[in-house]
Amino acid sequence: MKENPAEQPIRDRLEPGALSVDGFLGTDKRPIADIIAADTGTVEAEGFTVEQLGDFLEKLHVTADEGWESRVPMYDGKISVRSDETLGQIPCPFACGAHCHKAEIAVKDPDGNDLLRFTPLDAHLIAAHGFFEGKGAHYRIEPKTLIALYRLCTE
């Protein structure tokens, strides 16, 4: 399979220093299409869709936003979310025209242990592009971790 010529500019934007200091690929050397295919495969094998998981993260983000940087309990207190926001927006590296807030949302369990940290851009990347970031990237979300969190909240 020829590498899609459209992929090169996307790869450039995912590299460190283009949109963020550390980039989105970590130590992952696979073609972007393969990264996406592997992760969406994992998600679908578990009986979920990437849209479902991305929308779930977006819901956590929206709820956290309303808290004005304080901790907001969700799902009967099973988790709590808090958003650390900074000014500015980051464009989607896939150049689909979406712009996301710059923030980091921390999801914790009632004992204060970290369950997940993600950015609003992750919610978009997962829902719209099935991209969970490359292995070793700072905000890489393991599909299994996210599915476990989804099950914890909804079951």
Binding site: S20, D65, W68, S83, T86, L87, H101
Partner: protein, 365 residues
């Protein structure tokens, strides 16, 4: 023998084709001198055709805000082009709403100048200039916010309207191959025309803020351009509410200085949201403004004060505190500066207490 004939004729063929292409390029890519007719003839510029409108305007000294440097990803460089523009390009489509398309709004970093063009540029963009400033001081306001004071080059002055912002250029450094531009609100007293103060909060993984926090040194030069933006105080005389958190304090520092300079007596209440005491900034400045302005009140609200903060001020979400203080907002105006999430939450709280949406102004980055 055959070998030399082959090489010779191949070279000849390639040479002829190359010459043909050069001639075609000269003919096809020559758009001559094109005229840019700005604001119905208020200003006319002549530029070499073939380049993007953004670059053509830059070459005539008109700076259009653009955060991505002309890559078509930020969507800031929108301008109305009423004549001489080709149909909307696929690279512009994601940034333009239906109304904007009907209104001839275009992304000027994508559009190429191929013929005479008529366009409309907001008047305030003509004031935008580029400077090579000097970093005069770099001061920690708290654990993750710094104040950056930049001196303009000797002899240069800049008039700003409180609420406007500047763009600074982060030069290429080890973590980023190309310079990037980021926008920050101006926190300077508008009487001081030779300095620019910016309040910058560290963004984890942010290219520009990482540079400011880890690499920037005092006395280095820094390229900046501006001022931009139409976030500003109205002259309605209505009572005002300011809401901000973190580095969103910047425009209000400038606005409060302006209020003090002009002797404006409107009532102002400033709700500042933070998590705990360590997140509060500029308390001394706020105390000074409160002492100088009898109609100004600063209300810091902590959502999660720590036990050893010994906090006896307002606790809770800034939106809740604001609602408690101002049950009826119908005759007031609100000014917001913060992340989009904060702005959205504040707008919801303000309208819930009766504030008309047109009285809410914000700088939503």
């Amino acid at each position: 023998m055959t070998f030399w004939i082959a090489v010779g004729s191949l070279c000849a063929i390639c040479g002829i084709l190359a010459v043909l292409l050069v001639i075609a390029d000269r003919y096809l890519n020559d758009y001559g001198i094109c005229k840019l007719i700005i604001n119905k003839g208020a200003r006319e510029e002549e530029v070499e055709g073939g380049s993007t409108l953004l670059n053509s305007l830059n070459s005539t000294g008109i700076f259009i805000p653009s955060a991505c440097g002309g890559q078509g990803s930020c969507g800031l460089c929108k301008l109305k082009v009423t004549a001489g523009a080709p149909p909307i390009l696929p690279t512009e489509e994601p940034h333009l709403s239906k109304e904007e398309r009907a209104d001839n709004v275009r992304l000027c970093c994508q559009l190429k100048v191929h013929e005479n063009m008529e366009l409309e540029i907001p008047e305030e963009l003509f004031n935008i200039r580029e400077f090579n400033g000097t970093v005069e001081s770099l001061e920690n306001l708290n654990h993750d916010i710094k104040r950056l004071r930049i001196a303009l080059p000797a002899g240069e002055e800049l008039d700003i309207i409180p609420g406007q912002y500047m763009q600074i250029e982060t030069p290429a450094y080890k973590k980023t191959p190309e310079p990037v531009y980021r926008a920050y609100s101006i926190a300077t007293d508008p009487r001081d025309k030779t300095h620019i103060d910016l309040v910058i909060r560290l963004v984890p993984g942010g290219i520009c803020t990482t540079y400011v926090f880890e690499h920037m040194k005092e006395q280095q030069t820094l390229a900046l351009n501006g001022p931009y933006g139409d976030f500003r105080l109205t002259d309605t005389g209505k009572e005002m509410i300011f809401i901000a958190g973190g580095s969103g304090m910047a425009p209000f520092l400038s606005m409060l200085a302006h209020i003090q300079n002009e002797g404006i007596t409107r009532n102002v209440t400033y709700f500042f949201g933070a998590r705990s005491k360590r997140d509060l900034i500029c308390l001394d400045k706020m105390a000074a403004f409160e002492a100088a302005l009898p109609n100004f009140k600063f209300v810091p609200c902590l959502s999660e004060p720590m036990p050893d903060d010994n906090w006896d001020g307002e606790t809770g979400l800034v939106t809740e505190v604001m609602k408690r203080h101002c049950p009826d907002l119908t005759e007031m105006e609100a000014y917001l500066c913060g992340s989009p999430g904060m702005c959205d939450a504040s707008v919801a709280a303000l309208t819930a207490n009766g504030m008309p949406a047109e009285n809410i102004f914000f700088d939503k980055f």
